[in-house]
Amino acid sequence: MECRESRLLIHEFLDGDIDELANRRLQEHLWSCSECRRHKHELQKTIALVQSTSHVHAPADFTQRVLAQLPAPTKMNLVSLWLKRHPFIAAAAVFLLLMTSSLVASWFESDQMLQVSSNDFDQLQVDRQRKVVVVPEGAVVTGDLIVRNGSVEVQGTVEGNVVAIDGKVFTASTAQIAGDVESIEAIIDWIWYQLKNIGNDLLPFAP
């Protein structure tokens, strides 16, 4: 083996990725070549010297000084921190937010089409031009009658509530309405109506 090759193998040896055959050849060469042997020894001593440099430590107050330089926590961070500390209030707030937003959304989502919800469509007369739903005289509507984007004219009998959303409820002298009559025109009324419904569902014995 030539010394040039040996020098390369010495480095592979020092990196610990020399294969067995090459290692054996290197050792044989080193045995016979004092120059390469010294070279290897010097390299190993160099590594030992670098490794033996004393370990320096960061100053004692290093961490405090780093933390002092951090940017102030943003509002967002503060809010999320507060929420983490008050999980129940956070949950209640989220609930309220979702509920009102869904109510508001359900108000705006509806377009200007006349919408009628009832169990007995065949009993109703719908005048799409005037946007009026008529319960004719003698007709009997079981259950609630809810009309959206239009008015209701009741001449017959409704065995439930009559609700007109964005419209009015007209009752003729012949009208018989078992439940409540409500006309809802503003968004606040709409929300109030929904809340009342939720309340009624939750508290079945409420008057």
Partner: protein, 187 residues
């Protein structure tokens, strides 16, 4: 250890400053040491180490958790060190002069425990020689030698830190060793 670090980085990512402080505690000596060996100057090393942690904090959101945290922070610190040495090459020699006086106080404090003054001075001289030999390497070789033999990283880790192929790392380590040998062989 790696599991703990992963937890800490996840918490720090979410803005938890206590977790970040723990990460600083774990890495401050390693990073300070790297910067000190790169610059040979305590004050500069501290500046670089501080800057490293501030950058870690500012960029936590972009830290990819599939890599080791140590790889990432070593990369930030090494880049900062190399940038600095590029900027201040003109007064490099001045730095080396200042180094001796600055280091003295530090080392004498370190080695004052159980050594006679004579031994302490010997050690000090040796330390200075090694530091001097390191300083004469160009930053790209110096950083690799420090990461390998002072920070004790494997070749694979160094390759990940510097984002260079492992063959390049090996070549540079070979040359770096030869260069250091030329400076230190007579010690």
């Amino acid at each position: 250890m790696e599991f703990v670090e992963k937890r800490l980085t996840q918490r720090a990512k979410r803005g938890d400053r206590e977790a970040f402080a723990e990460l600083v505690e774990i890495y401050k000596d390693k990073i300070f040491q790297l910067a000190y060996r790169m610059t040979g100057n305590r004050q500069e090393a501290e500046d670089i180490a501080q800057e490293t942690f501030l950058r870690v904090f500012a960029n936590l959101h972009s830290y990819d958790e599939s890599y080791k945290f140590s790889t990432w922070i070593y990369r930030i610190a090494t880049n900062l060190c190399i940038d600095r040495s590029r900027k201040k090459r003109p007064d490099f020699s001045l730095d080396q002069e200042a180094e001796g006086t600055e280091g003295l106080d530090w080392y004498s404090r370190l080695s004052s425990n159980d050594k006679t003054p004579e031994q302490a001075v010997m050690t000090q001289e040796l330390q200075d020689t090694v530091q001097g030999a390191l300083s004469q390497l160009s930053p790209k070789y110096r950083s690799i030698m420090i990461l390998r033999y002072i920070e004790d990283l494997s070749l694979q880790e160094i390759s990940a830190v510097l984002q260079l192929p492992i063959t390049t790392i090996k070549t540079r380590i070979h040359r770096g060793r030869e260069a250091l040998r030329n400076k230190l062989r007579f010690m």
